[in-house]
Every structure is written in structure tokens, then in C-alpha cells.
């Protein structure tokens, strides 16, 4: 069997989400990992992607107007639970 051709960096950046989501087939995943082992640029890129996800998770939640909660609780009190 012919060995799989090496991934280029330009190809790897298109697969990074499939990789991080665990959706790459085994063989593709091996090619991906092999490329990462020898490529500092792609290692840095994948790390940047992971950091992007972490930073996105820290974006603060929008503040809710207090009257929204009040209105909802009022609506709840006026609501008749189903029989």
C-alpha cells in the first residue's frame, strides 16, 4: 500500500475543527498528528485555535434587565398549570 501523501499546512488548517471535534477518521488523524509532530507552525496554529475557544468561553454574559425577571414571574403566577 502506498503511504498517504503528507499533509500540507494549508490543508491542515482546514481540518482543525474536525480534529478538535474528534471527527477525523483514524487514518486522517494519524496524518494530522504526524504533521503536527514535525511542524511548529501548525502546532502553534492548533494552540491558537484552542486559545480562541477558551477566550470565547470567557466573554461575559449580557446583563438581564431586572424587570424582565419580574415580568416573567408575574406571568408565571397568572399562568394556569395544565390539568
Amino acid at each position: 500500500m502506498q503511504p498517504d501523501p503528507e499533509l500540507t499546512c494549508a490543508e491542515l488548517v482546514e481540518l482543525v475543527t474536525d480534529y478538535l471535534e474528534g471527527r477525523l477518521p483514524d487514518r486522517e488523524r494519524r496524518r494530522f498528528d504526524e504533521h503536527l509532530t514535525g511542524c511548529d507552525g501548525c502546532t502553534a496554529y492548533v494552540e491558537q485555535m484552542r486559545t480562541t475557544i477558551t477566550v470565547a468561553g470567557r466573554v461575559p454574559a449580557p446583563e438581564l434587565p431586572p424587570e424582565l425577571q419580574e415580568r416573567l414571574l408575574e406571568a408565571f403566577r397568572g399562568w394556569r398549570p395544565p390539568e
Partner: protein, 232 residues
């Protein structure tokens, strides 16, 4: 992360004047069946806790459909009324959380159409390279398709800078600039911490489309972050 309200195991203590033990309430909140039973029975503390837990995330998602803060607030309110009206028919085929987000997503979508916008999830957005082609060596190079210059090592950036208010604002801005379907998917996945199945279920999209939208969104947000961080 303690500020994630989307995590059902990280429920905040219920604000409740009742004498019910916190642990009992927690246990109750961990189970959809028990929650839905309490809601159907008219338990206001349970409703208040759900409102506390999900409304900010619902507002964030709604705003990506309708773009106006005040309309998004109306959508969230309508969605909760929809939850109450539909609770008798909730069958537990989805989790309560994804069911609630399906309702807010549908209400927001309807409202967006009324406002002259639409958010088609079948449109994945233009197919663009995740990284600008000029960042890679050309076909005449000895190593075509390899980095011309490596991306920088963000492990060297101090955490205070990565998580600074200004950095977070850049990310939030980059997300707001995305095509709406991409913005909604990355917001639910990465900002609110939903898993892939929850997003597919709430938005009624295929796993493949969810992943394409997420990939395009993350690639662009990474790029925006790179432009910001590397400029310093």
C-alpha cells in the same frame, strides 16, 4: 467555569424563601423529569431558577437573530411564555435545555423575518480558506503549502492579556460580524459551552452543517484575535 450557566451540573443555589434544603433543590434541577413535573405543578421557585439559569444565554442567542437588544428581550420573554404553554406537551425526547433553546431560536427566527432579516442555516456562508492563502508558500516554492511565517506562540502571552476586557470585547465583536448562522453556532458552542448534539438539536441542523459553521466561525474569530494580539 463557574460563570457558565449552560452547564446543568453547575446550577446556582436557588433563590428561594422556602425551607427546602439546597441539596434537594439541586437534585431536582439535575433531572429534567422532576423539573418538568414541578413546573407543571406550578412551582415558582423552579421556574425562577430556570429563568435565572438560561435567560442571559437566550438573550445572547436571540440578539444574533434580531440584532436589536430590546427586540431580543421581547423574544426571550415570548420564549418563556412558549415554554409554559408547551410544557404539557414536552415529551423528553430532547433535554429540557435544548427544548428551551429550540423555542427561543424559533421565536427569534420568526421575529427576524418580520424585521426583514432571515437566518438560513442551510446557507453555510461563502467557502473561503480558513487562513489567507498568502500566509502559505506558493506552488513554485520548495515547500508549497507550508507556512511562509509561523503563527505566533500564544502560550507566551500572559493570561491577564488574553482574558483582558479589551480582548474579550474583540472576540465578541468578531462574533457579531460573522454571518448570523455562524455567529449563533459559535456562540452556543464556545461562548455558552453547549455540546455539538445540543446545538444540532436546538437549531435543528445536521451534525455536518453544525461543524462547517463552527469551523468557519472559529477560523475567523482566531484571525481577528491574531490581528489584535499580534499588533501589540
Amino acid at each position: 467555569m463557574s460563570d457558565r450557566i449552560a452547564d446543568p451540573t453547575a446550577a446556582e443555589p436557588v433563590r428561594d424563601d422556602d425551607v427546602r434544603d439546597d441539596a434537594v433543590v439541586m437534585e431536582l434541577l439535575a433531572s429534567d423529569v422532576a423539573l418538568v413535573d414541578r413546573l407543571r405543578a406550578g412551582d415558582e421557585a423552579v421556574f425562577a431558577e430556570l429563568v435565572n439559569r438560561y435567560s442571559a444565554a437566550m438573550l445572547r442567542v436571540a440578539q444574533l437573530y434580531v440584532r436589536s437588544r430590546s427586540i431580543a428581550e421581547e423574544v426571550v420573554q415570548d420564549a418563556w411564555i412558549g415554554v409554559l404553554n408547551g410544557i404539557a406537551r414536552f415529551e423528553g425526547r430532547s433535554s429540557l435545555k435544548t427544548w428551551i433553546f429550540r423555542i427561543v431560536s424559533n421565536k427569534a427566527k420568526t421575529r427576524a423575518v418580520k424585521e426583514g432579516r432571515s437566518v438560513p442555516f442551510s446557507e453555510l456562508g461563502p467557502e473561503e480558506p480558513s487562513v489567507a492563502p498568502e500566509r502559505f508558500r506558493g506552488p513554485e516554492d520548495r515547500y508549497p503549502g507550508h507556512w511562509a511565517a509561523f503563527p505566533s506562540d500564544w502560550a507566551r502571552i500572559p493570561e491577564e492579556r488574553l482574558l483582558a476586557t479589551e480582548t474579550l470585547a474583540q472576540v465578541e465583536h468578531a462574533i457579531a460580524e460573522l454571518p448570523p448562522a455562524q455567529a449563533i453556532v459559535i456562540t452556543m458552542r464556545d461562548v455558552e459551552g453547549f455540546d455539538a448534539d445540543e446545538v444540532c438539536d436546538a437549531l435543528e441542523i445536521s451534525e455536518g452543517n453544525q461543524r462547517v459553521l463552527l469551523h468557519r466561525a472559529r477560523s475567523k474569530v482566531r484571525q481577528a484575535l491574531e490581528e489584535y494580539l499580534d499588533a501589540a
